[in-house]
Amino acid sequence: MADKRGRKAGSSSSPAPAKKSSQEVGAKGDFDVDGDLDKNAIEEFFAPVAGFGVTMASLFSPVVTEQYPFEKKPTAPRYHGRHQLNRYADGLEKCIGCELCAWACPADAIYVEAGNNTPEAQYSPGERYGKVYQINYLRCIFCGLCIEACPTRALTMTNEYELAGQTRAEMIFEKDELLAPLRSGMLAAPHPMVEGTNDDDYYRNEVDGPTPTQVDWVRERRPEDPTLDAAEAAARTRAEQGGER
C-alpha cells in the first residue's frame, strides 16, 4: 500500500506544474512546447544532467516490482477471479441450472443446460439442477453480473486469477472444473436431500451437513466414494450434539 501511495503521489504532483507552465507559454506563443525559454542561466547549466535527479531519487524510494510467478501476492478480497459453483453443507450443488447467469452475461460467456433431478440422481435440492455448465474464459470480462443474477448464490467468484491455457478449448471451463471442492464432511452428490426438508430450507441455509440417512444411501450405491468416511464422521458428530439439524 505504501508503494502505491508513493507512486500515486509522485505521479500526480509532477504533471500539474508542467501543465501550468505550458498554459503560460501557450499565452506567449505556440512554439515553446517544453517551456525552456524562461529558464535562467543556472537552470540552463544543469539542464543536461537534470534528468538524473529523478534517477537518484528513485534509487532511494521503495521498490514496487512484484516477483510474480515466484512470489504470489494475495489479491484484494473482492477481486473478480475465476468463478466457482458452490455447494450446500451436505454436498448438494447450489446450481439449479436456471440460466440467469447466462442471461445476465454481457459477453455471452456462459452456457448452461439444466437437468431433471430424479430420486436416484439428486444433484441439487428440488426439481432442477445444472447438467451442463460452461464458462468461456476467453470471453469472460469478469464483470460479476452473473454473480448478481444467481438466485441461489451458487455462482460466486474466487480470487484465482491465473487463467491461461494452451488452446481455446482449454479455456472453456466445464462444470467439474468450476464446482467447489468438497470440504471435509461434505458428501459427494448425487444423493437425496436431507429428510423432511425442501429446497426452501436449503436456500435458507437450514441444512448444516449430511445426515446418517444420506451417508447410508451413498454407501449402499457407491461404497467406494472417497467422501463417505469424513461425511459419516461429521454426520455422527452432529447427531451426537443433538438437534435435528
Partner: protein, 877 residues
C-alpha cells in the same frame, strides 16, 4: 398466398361506438371490451382471456372502470370495476383502463398481488420463466413488494397427468384456459377444476381440498383407498418422486378402449396446446422439462410435416438442435392449435440413425461404407442409367412440392420412364384415375373456413381426429357453433365422430360404394339416407373423401357420381404432407405436372417444351405395387427409392423380395431404414428442418417454409440434380428458386383431363362362421417412424384394441374381457377385444400401432375377410 374466401364478411354487422380512455372506437356488436381496447392499441392485462375460447372472467385481472348510459341516457358509472373480458361493448359506454383510471389501476395491482399470494415464485426453476405472462404482467402492472407474510399453500408436485403433460398445482392461477380448451376445442375434458376455496397453508390438508386443476385421482385428492403411484423420472421440491395421476386404479373404471399406452385413461391428441396457452408454468411437458430458456432459443416459423393439414408451427432451436415446437398462428389454417404429433414428434429428424454421408456398398465385403458425394453420385447415375429393363421410382409421400417435382422430372427425363408412384400405402388404379381426373391441377376450392360454415359435411374414408387433426378441430368448432352438421360413412362411431356429433352411416368396409350410390340416387328406396341426401343437395355442402376410399372398389366412382348428383363440393384428404403436392407435379404413372394426362400427346409436348427435351415417354407406367412386382421378377433392373417405410406398404414381403431381387437399389433417405439394407447407393437427404420448400395441404393451399437449421445437407431436388448432372442431363432443380421458376413456366392445362374412373362395386363378401370383414385405419399416434425418439408422446397413444359388435363376439364365443385373434394365411394378430356398436361381421383393429401391424401380420388390408377366434390364453391384465 391465395386469399381465402373466408375473409369476406357475409352480412354487414351492426356497429357500436364506445369510448376507451377517451378514444372513440366503433366495433361490431358483441365485441368484448378487452378486444375493443386492443383495436385502439390499449392493452389490458389478462390471464384467462383467450380470443379463441369463450369468456370466463376467471382470473379477474382485466378489471376496468366502466360507465354506461342508463335508460334515460345519463352516463352512470358502474359501482365496481368490471372484467373487460366478459363485458360486451354497448353504445355510449365509457371505459377507463389502468392508463386513465386510478380505480382500475389499483384493482389490477391488487389482483396481481392476490394471484401471487399462493404462487411459488420459483421462476428460476420454472420452464415458463422468461416467457411467462404472469411474470411479465406482474412486472408491468404489479407492486414491487407483497404484503403477504403468511405461509403459501403448497401441493405435492409435479404430477404427471399423462406421460407427456406435467402439472404443478402451486403455480396454477386457476384461469381455466386449459380446461376450457380441452372442453370447448378438443372435446377431451381430461382435466377439470376440483375442490373449492383457497385451501390450507403448507402441505397440510384438513379434508378440505383447495380449488385445483387435475384429473380425478383418489390418491391425489386424499380419498380413502387411493393408491399413490409415483414415477422415478423426476422429483418434487423435497426430492420426492413425481406423482402419477389417474392411473387405472385411481380414476374410476375405464375400459381398455379408453386407456393410453402408459395405462392411464386416454387424455387427448391435442393436450400439448394446454401447455402453450397456460399463462403460468403450471402445465409443462416432460420432453421439454428444464431443457432450455426462451432467450436461448431461436424461433423459426415452419409447417408441420406429419399430416396433410399444413398446420403452421414455430420451431425453437438452440445451437442447431430443435428443442421444442409450438403452434403457429394462422387463422386461415390451424388457428392457434396443433396436434400433439405436430408438437412433440420432431426427434426423428435428429435421430441417431440419421444419415450424414453417402454410402456405397463395398464390392468385396458387401458392407455399406461411407464415401464422397462425387463417387456416390456418379455410381448412382451409372447404376440408374445402366440398368437393363428400366428403373422404377418410389418417391414416397412426404416430399415438398419442389422435391416431388424434381423426382417427377428425373423419372421422365433421366430415367425415361413413367414408372413412378408416390403412394407408399394401399392404393388402386381407381384411385390414380380419380386423382388424375379430379384432384390434379385443381385450384383451391374447399377451405378450412368452408368446413367451419358448411351446413352439411360428409366424411367418407376419413377419420379426421386420427388422420387430419386440424380438420377435426375445425369441424368440431362449426358443429358446436350450430352451423355445421357432420355425417360420416364408417363402420362405427369413433371418439372423434362422437365429439363432432356426427351422424354415422354404418357400413361394412367395402360397403361405402353402396351408401354413396344410395345418397346419389336420393330416392325413396333408401329412406334412412333421405335427410342426408337432401342436405347434400343444399348450398355449401361439402364431401371430404379420405385416401382410404381408394381401397374400396367403386368408391371413387360412386363418389364422383354423388358429387355430380348433389352439386356438393368435394375435397380429397390424404394422410401425408407430401401427397397433395405429389399429385400436382405428376408423381403418378399416368400423370404429368399440372394435371396433364401422360396419355395426351399435347400434354407431353407441353411438358417436354418446358423441360427442353424432345419427347417424353408415352408408355403408361406401373403403379407402386406393379413396380415392386416388376422389380421382384426381374423386369425392372433398378429401383430408385425415396422416403418409404416398408411397414406402410400393403405387402411388405413383396417389397422385401423386390429390393433383394432387383439389380440395384439407389436410396434417397433421411434416416437408415429397412430399404438401406438392400441399397447399393444411399444418398442422404435432409429432413424438413434442413431445407426450404412448400407443402400443399389438402386444400391445395401452398404452405411454404424456410430452412430452420442451416447445414451441409441437401434436399431431394438438389441430390437428384447432381445425379442427373452425372448422367449428363441438366435437371435444373438445384435450388428452390430455380424449381419454382420452372414450375411457373407451366401454362394452365385446359386440354382433356384423365377419364373418370368407372369401377364396379365389389360384391359383398360371403362370411362363413368365425370370419369377419376387417376394418382398419391408422391412429394419429402409432408405430410410425416419424414418432421415433419421443417416449413421452408414445405413452399418450391409444392402447391398441380390436373392436367388434356384441353379436360378432358371441358368434365366436368370446368371453368378456378376453383377447381376440385375427388370422389369415399370412399370420395372426392378437388384441384385447372391445365391444362397440358396429355392424355384425366386422372387426376393427389399428393399422400400424405398437404390437398391431396389420399389413405385416395379416398381409391384407381393410375390406378383406379374416378369421376371428377368441384367444386361447386366459384374460390378460
Amino acid at each position: 398466398m391465395t386469399a381465402p374466401s373466408e375473409q369476406k364478411s357475409p352480412a354487414p354487422v351492426e356497429e357500436v361506438t364506445l369510448t376507451i380512455d377517451g378514444v372513440e372506437v366503433s366495433v361490431p356488436k358483441g365485441t368484448l371490451v378487452i378486444r375493443a381496447a386492443e383495436r385502439v392499441g390499449i392493452e389490458i392485462p389478462r390471464f384467462c382471456d383467450h380470443p379463441l375460447l369463450k369468456p370466463a372472467g376467471a382470473c379477474r385481472q382485466c378489471l376496468v372502470e366502466v360507465s354506461a348510459p342508463d335508460r334515460e341516457g345519463n352516463v352512470r358509472p358502474m359501482p365496481k370495476p368490471q372484467t373487460s373480458c366478459t363485458l360486451e361493448a354497448t353504445p355510449g359506454m365509457q371505459v377507463s383502463t389502468q392508463n386513465t383510471s386510478p380505480v382500475a389501476e389499483k384493482a389490477q395491482r391488487g389482483q396481481i398481488e392476490f394471484l401471487l399470494v399462493n404462487h411459488p415464485l420459483d421462476c428460476p426453476v420454472c420452464d415458463k420463466g422468461g416467457e411467462c405472462p404472469l411474470q411479465n404482467q406482474a412486472l408491468d402492472h404489479g407492486s414491487n413488494t407483497s404484503r403477504f407474510t403468511g405461509v403459501k399453500r403448497t401441493f405435492p408436485k409435479p404430477i404427471k397427468i399423462s406421460s407427456q403433460i406435467m402439472l404443478d398445482r402451486d403455480r396454477c392461477i386457476l384461469c381455466q384456459r386449459c380446461t376450457r380448451f380441452q372442453d370447448e376445442i378438443a372435446g377431451d375434458p381430461f382435466i377439470d377444476l376440483q375442490g373449492r376455496g383457497g385451501g390450507t397453508p403448507g402441505y397440510e390438508v384438513h379434508g378440505l381440498h383447495a380449488q385445483q386443476i387435475g384429473r380425478f385421482d383418489e390418491a391425489i385428492l386424499d380419498y380413502v383407498g387411493g393408491e399413490t403411484v409415483t414415477d422415478d423420472d423426476s422429483v418434487g421440491p423435497m426430492g420426492e418422486p413425481a406423482l402419477v395421476s389417474a392411473t387405472a386404479g385411481n380414476a374410476g373404471t375405464v375400459g381398455p378402449a379408453a386407456v393410453d399406452a402408459s395405462g392411464r385413461p386416454f387424455a387427448s391428441y391435442f393436450s400439448g396446446n394446454t401447455i402453450q396457452i397456460c399463462p403460468v408454468g403450471a402445465l409443462t411437458s416432460a420432453s421439454y422439462r428444464f431443457r432450455s430458456r426462451p432467450f436461448d432459443l431461436v424461433s423459426s416459423p415452419a409447417i408441420a410435416e406429419h399430416d396433410a393439414c399444413g398446420a403452421a408451427i414455430r420451431v425453437d432451436h438452440r445451437r442447431g438442435v430443435v428443442l421444442r415446437r409450438l403452434a403457429g398462428d394462422d387463422p386461415a389454417v390451424n388457428e392457434e392449435w396443433i396436434t400433439d404429433k405436430d408438437r412433440f414428434a420432431f426427434p426423428w429428424q435428429s435421430a441417431p440413425d440419421v444419415l450424414t454421408s453417402p454410402l456405397v456398398r463395398d464390392e468385396e465385403t458387401g458392407e455399406l461404407v461411407p464415401t464422397s458425394w462425387s463417387e456416390a453420385v456418379h455410381l448412382a447415375a451409372q447404376l440408374l442409367t445402366g440398368a437393363t429393363g428400366g428403373v422404377g421410382a418410389l418417391p414416397g409421400g412426404r416430399l415438398t412440392v419442389e422435391d416431388a417435382y424434381a423426382w417427377s422430372k428425373f423419372a421422365r427425363v433421366v430415367l425415361g420412364t413413367n414408372d413412378i408412384d408416390f403412394r407408399a400405402r394401399a392404393h388402386s388404379a381407381e384411385e390414380s384415375d380419380f386423382l388424375a381426373h379430379r384432384v390434379a391441377g385443381a385450384s383451391m376450392d374447399v377451405t378450412y373456413g368452408d368446413l367451419e360454415r358448411s351446413p352439411q359435411v360428409l366424411l367418407v374414408g376419413l377419420e379426421p381426429e386420427e388422420e387430419a387433426g386440424t380438420i377435426f378441430l375445425r369441424l368440431r368448432k362449426g358443429v358446436l357453433a350450430g352451423r355445421v352438421k357432420v355425417a360420416t360413412i364408417a363402420p362405427m362411431a369413433t371418439r372423434g365422430s362422437t365429439k363432432m356429433r356426427a351422424e354415422v352411416l354404418p357400413v361394412v368396409p367395402g360397403g361405402e360404394t353402396e351408401v354413396l350410390t344410395a345418397l346419389a340416387a336420393g330416392d325413396s328406396e333408401h329412406t334412412q339416407y333421405a335427410a342426408l341426401a337432401e342436405a347434400l343437395r343444399g348450398e355449401g355442402a361439402v364431401i371430404l373423401a379420405g385416401e382410404r376410399l381408394g381401397m374400396v372398389p367403386g368408391g371413387y366412382t360412386a363418389l364422383l357420381k354423388l358429387v355430380e348428383a348433389t352439386g356438393a363440393r368435394l375435397a380429397w384428404v390424404p394422410r401425408r404432407a407430401g401427397d397433395r403436392g405429389a399429385v400436382e407435379v405428376g408423381l403418378l404413372p399416368g400423370l404429368l405436372p399440372g394435371g396433364r394426362p401422360t396419355a395426351e400427346a399435347q400434354a407431353r409436348v407441353d411438358v417436354a417444351a418446358v423441360w427442353g427435351v424432345d419427347e417424353l415417354p408415352a408408355t403408361p407406367g406401373r403403379d407402386h405395387t406393379e413396380i415392386l412386382a416388376a422389380a421382384a421378377d426381374g423386369t425392372l433392373g433398378a429401383l430408385l427409392v425415396g422416403g418409404i417405410d416398408l411397414e406402410d406398404l400393403p405387402d411388405p414381403a413383396l417389397a422385401e423380395r423386390a429390393l433383394a431381387g432387383v439389380g440395384s437399389v439407389v436410396q434417397l433417405e433421411v434416416r437408415r431404414s429397412a430399404v438401406t439394407e438392400h441399397a447399393d447407393v444411399v444418398l442422404p437427404v435432409v429432413p424438413p428442418t434442413g431445407k426450404s420448400g412448400t407443402f400443399l395441404n389438402w386444400e391445395s393451399r401452398p404452405r411454404p417454409f424456410e430452412t430452420v437449421l442451416e447445414g451441409p445437407g441437401m434436399s431431394d431436388a438438389k441430390v437428384l440434380d447432381m445425379v442427373a448432372e452425372a448422367a449428363g442431363t441438366d435437371l435444373g432443380t438445384r435450388t428452390v428458386t430455380d424449381t419454382y421458376a420452372e414450375l411457373a413456366e407451366f401454362p394452365g392445362w385446359d386440354g382433356p383431363r384423365h377419364e373418370a374412373p368407372a369401377v364396379e362395386a365389389a360384391p359383398t363378401p360371403e362370411l362363413g362362421a368365425g370370419r369377419a370383414v376387417l376394418a382398419t385405419w391408422r391412429l394419429m399416434l402409432d408405430a410410425g417412424r416419424g414418432q421415433d425418439g419421443e417416449p413421452h408422446l408414445a405413452g399418450t397413444a391409444h392402447r391398441p384394441v380390436a373392436m367388434l359388435s356384441a353379436a360378432t363376439a358371441t358368434g365366436i364365443g368370446l368371453q368378456a374381457g378376453g383377447n381376440v385373434v385375427l388370422s389369415t394365411d399370412t399370420g395372426r394378430l392378437e388384441l384385447p377385444a372391445v365391444l362397440a356398436a358396429m355392424p355384425d361381421g366386422v372387426v376393427w383393429v389399428p393399422q400400424h400401432s405398437v404390437g398391431s401391424s396389420v399389413y405385416r401380420s395379416l398381409g391384407v388390408g381393410a375390406g378383406a375377410v379374416v378369421a376371428l377366434a377368441p384367444a386361447d390364453s386366459e384374460v390378460q391384465s
